[in-house]
């Protein structure tokens, strides 16, 4: 999604050179490909330098999930759609590989983190030939704040002064937006916040294009679904709903020359991924860990990875939440013993588990923030629970969990039968069952009797959210965006704080990290506060942090100019095909 940095590109050279140097020929001729593939290892540097971007060609980009077809930033719902939009539209702000905002279509200034002035680049054109102005942005913000708007983005507009009034129909416009001229706009937020900039909606919508369409009808309109226009390096030429898209080069792209003539995006079933890459039917695709080892074996395809922004965990239900009162109203006793939770964390061999179920495309995570994020604390600053069954047993002994009836499993301190119930969501994927079974077995090995329960995925999240009594320990995953603030997933008054973690000290730290008075613009200070919060959480073990996964791309050897980091891949305008 975001621009790459030259430094990062340099770091990627080792990986990239293999396909930068490719002598083309696609995937049809395996023998010659494998020859060139083997001989390339030693000559990376020279090949890299001579790898001049070439013009023209059609690149086929695969998707292993079906898009919903909402090709507009304001309306899309799933990641697959976003993956497509990135080819033909972009926003005012980009993020660098440290996830810090950098100017793209606009620059900004602020004194107090409440009043911002945005200056747009001049002469940037929409695909329909209209010039981009600040009015297109105002249009986007007012669309999202409109009462008929049916997408999920209002939270990104809400903080602008006057947005709630506009939404309630009390005002004709959002009072916090002041258009100075076509390229300058002043934005006022309702209060100063450190994350106002990263939170605000930064994607304009072409006002001209949506002329005469009611907000309620927009998500179903052809402007969103089949004939979207954007500002990006490629234009949408043709859409076959649910199966493919044809994108062509945008001759008027504002940010440099576009190398490729055409990109075909097509949906393929994930069982067909490896075969399609091998045959050259697709040049690039985002891979699931399970396919990656097979793709590694292909001579005509390279596997490129970058750290991801999501993590998996095993949560403990520690309380019950009242969604009306927005507070945790009851404490659940079963897993309150801190030593029990620590022992269960020590019992799990995360390395082995990740290697077995994610084929090594991931690593253990020790805190509630993915390591690649700039607020992530160093592992030395948090409590790390390494695989240590002896320590686990010792902790359980200390906590009074001992086998009193010689059935091979420990009883709770009162001498009653103790069974850990572990829930995991079920889809059609058969490996979910075995990976959850594996976790239960780790607990059984330290003497805790464990049961796995697979629950249909919709029902599962419903039960987790409503604190259903049958959910005791549960598997889950969270993704973090570019905005580092984890409040929505962790504070005691939040519905999505699934473990019902309730520690006022931790909540106070989260508030402090966002406070303009205490932290201000000092990023280092902010990171420090977040690190302290992470330490607090890891001491309390409301969840066992399991793994963070890599983003993996399979890239054909004949594709050049591609790179990827934690913020996504580089601008597709720079991609090219070797002839």
């Amino acid at each position: 999604m975001k621009r790459k940095s030259m430094l990062w590109l340099f770091a990627m050279i080792l990986v990239l050179s293999a396909f930068l140097a490719a002598c083309g020929g696609g995937g049809s001729d395996d023998a010659s490909d494998s020859d060139s593939g083997d001989s390339k290892d030693g000559e990376k540097a020279t090949e890299e330098q001579s790898g001049e971007p070439q013009q023209g060609g059609t690149l086929t980009y695969g998707l292993d999930a079906t898009p919903e077809g909402l090709y507009n930033w304001a309306f899309y719902g799933i990641a697959t759609d976003a993956e497509i939009i990135e080819f033909f539209d972009e926003g005012l702000i980009e993020y660098d590989e440290n996830l810090q905002p950098i100017p793209n279509l606009a620059e900004w200034e602020t004194e107090d983190n409440q009043h911002f002035t945005f200056k747009f680049k001049e002469g940037v054109k929409w695909h329909n030939g209209e010039e981009l102005t600040v009015n297109d942005w105002v249009f986007a913000l007012e669309t999202i704040a409109h009462p008929d708007y049916d997408g999920p983005r209002y939270a990104n507009v809400e903080t602008i002064e006057g947005a709630p009034a506009f939404r309630a129909g009390e005002a004709d416009s959002i009072s916090g937006l002041k258009v100075v001229d076509d390229y300058t706009i002043e934005v006022t937020f309702d209060e100063p916040r450190l994350n106002n900039l990263t939170n605000i909606w930064s994607y304009p919508m072409s006002q001209k294009e949506f002329e005469g369409i009611e907000v309620a009808d927009m998500s179903g309109s052809e402007q969103v679904r089949t004939k979207p226009v954007g500002l990006g390096p490629f234009k949408v030429e043709n859409v076959v709903p649910g199966e493919s898209l044809e994108l062509v080069k945008n001759e008027d792209y504002w940010n440099g020359e576009v190398n490729l003539d055409k990109i075909i995006i097509r949906v393929i079933d994930n069982t067909a991924t490896v075969g399609a890459l091998q045959n050259g039917d697709i040049d690039m695709i985002s891979l699931q860990p399970v396919s990656a080892p097979d793709v590694e074996k292909l001579d005509n395809v390279e596997v490129v990875t970058a750290p991801g922004l999501s993590y998996y965990y095993v949560g403990f239900k520690l309380g019950k939440f009242d969604n009306d009162k927005k507070e945790i109203v009851e404490e659940l006793p079963k897993y309150q013993d801190l030593n029990l939770r620590k022992a269960m964390a020590h019992a799990i061999n995360r390395e082995e588990w990740i290697d077995a179920f994610f084929f090594g495309y991931g690593k253990p995570v020790n805190k509630p923030v993915p390591t690649a994020h700039w607020i992530a604390a160093d592992d030395s600053e948090v409590n790390v629970y390494e695989y240590d069954p002896e320590k686990a047993k010792q902790l359980l002994d200390e906590a009074g969990f001992v086998d009193t009836n010689d059935d091979g499993f420990r009883e709770d301190p009162n001498g009653d039968e103790f069974v850990v119930k572990f829930s995991h969501y079920a889809t059609g994927n058969p490996t979910f069952e075995s990976r959850s079974q594996a976790i239960a077995q780790y607990w059984e090995e330290v003497g805790l009797k464990s049961e796995v329960e697979m629950v249909e995925v919709n029902l599962y999240y419903d039960m987790v959210e409503k604190d259903d009594p049958s959910i005791e320990t549960f598997f889950g995953g969270w993704g973090t965006g570019t905005d580092p603030d984890p409040s929505a997933l962790w504070k005691a008054d939040q519905l999505w704080n699934y473990p019902r973690y309730n520690n006022p000290d931790a909540d106070a730290l989260l508030e402090q990290a966002l406070s303009v008075e205490e932290v201000g613009d000092d990023q280092e200070k902010r990171a420090q506060v977040y690190a302290e919060w992470q330490k607090t959480v890891t001491e309390d073990v409301p969840m066992i942090f399991i793994a963070e996964l890599d983003e993996i791309m399979g890239v054909g050897e004949n594709v050049g100019g591609f790179s990827m980091d934690v913020s996504g891949y580089n601008n597709p305008a720079e991609w090219y095909l070797e002839k």
Binding site: D294, A426, N429, S434
Partner: protein
């Protein structure tokens, strides 16, 4: 086998052979059908003996335990059919899975045959309002979106009833429509025969007419239908499990084993994981169909072979 003795026995009674005896003789002479019967019986015995056989066939006879160190091992001396992605022995799971798949198929077939026969014969015999009411209801059942119902019931009854029985009930309750129609049309045709009309005219109670006079005449159809049903309901189980809407994932069944073929790396790269269930399903269905064919031939008085 006992073919000789059996034919011998048949020979003795040849002069006054009942239709059933003729059918039995014909069936025993049908090599394909007999081979299939032997195969099917063998499969059933092997799966039933799974708990006794497993410890001898595999070093890890436990079908639920995940063995991370033994994942995806190709077939070898220890694991005759290799291990799957959970490190479970494929052979062992095949045996245990067969129990489930055959159980689902057989139980659902029983439900279907009983329901279908009752509804079909009652509708065909009484005709008129009873017939149209029952047939409308049959239409309704035939119309029912099977998949929605299975998913919904599976989720609603989750945790209350064992998932396996939910599946059996749902498949059974939604599949009897076809049998009902066939039985009805046979009964419709049969009941015009003089002997049935005579039985009715002398005041024989309907239940007795149906059971004594009509059902024996449609029995051959029912038998053939139920063998074919048995096959198609095994397919129903495996298909639903393959899609992820069938037997709970924790329970090994042939369908659940085949679902691993959905995994991108398995289909092409690890054929030993999905081939055994695919082949055993195919072989089982094939043999049941051969048996059905043989029965059909044997029960058809006009066929010569």
């Amino acid at each position: 086998m006992t073919t000789n003795a059996a034919t011998g026995a048949v020979k003795r009674t040849e002069k006054s052979a009942s239709p059933w005896a003729i059918a039995r003789r014909k069936f025993l002479r049908n090599k394909l059908a007999m081979a299939s019967t032997v195969f099917l019986i063998l499969v059933i015995i092997l799966t039933l003996m799974a708990p006794f056989l497993a410890p001898h066939l595999s070093p890890i006879p436990d079908i639920t335990k995940v063995n991370i160190s033994k994942m995806s091992i190709p077939p070898n001396g220890d694991h005759l059919l290799g291990t799957d992605k959970s490190g479970r022995d494929v052979m062992t799971r095949l045996l245990y899975g067969g129990r489930i798949s055959l159980l689902v198929g057989a139980s659902a077939t029983a439900i279907v045959v009983v329901l279908g026969t009752i509804v079909g014969s009652v509708a065909g015999f009484f005709g008129g309002a009873v017939d149209s009411l029952l047939m409308r209801f049959t239409d309704f059942v035939l119309n029912f979106p099977f998949l929605v119902f299975v998913i919904v019931l599976n989720t609603i009854l989750f945790g209350i009833v064992d998932g396996l029985w939910v599946l059996i009930l749902v498949i059974g309750l939604l599949s009897w429509g076809g049998v009902a129609r066939i039985v009805r049309s046979k009964v419709l045709a049969e009941k015009e025969n003089e002997y049935v009309l005579a039985a009715i005219s002398i005041g024989t109670p309907p239940a007795k007419v149906i059971i004594k006079h009509l059902l024996p005449n449609v029995l051959s159809t029912i038998i053939v239908q139920s063998t074919l049903l048995f096959a198609s309901l095994i397919v129903a189980e495996t298909g639903l499990s393959y899609l992820g809407f069938g037997v709970p994932q924790e329970t090994p069944s042939w369908g659940n084993m085949l679902a691993f073929a959905n995994e991108p790396d398995v289909l092409q790269g690890k054929p030993w994981i999905w081939m055994p269930p695919a082949l055993i399903i195919t072989a089982t269905i094939l043999s049941i169909n051969f048996i059905g064919e043989g029965l059909k031939d044997a029960l058809n008085p006009k066929s010569q072979r």
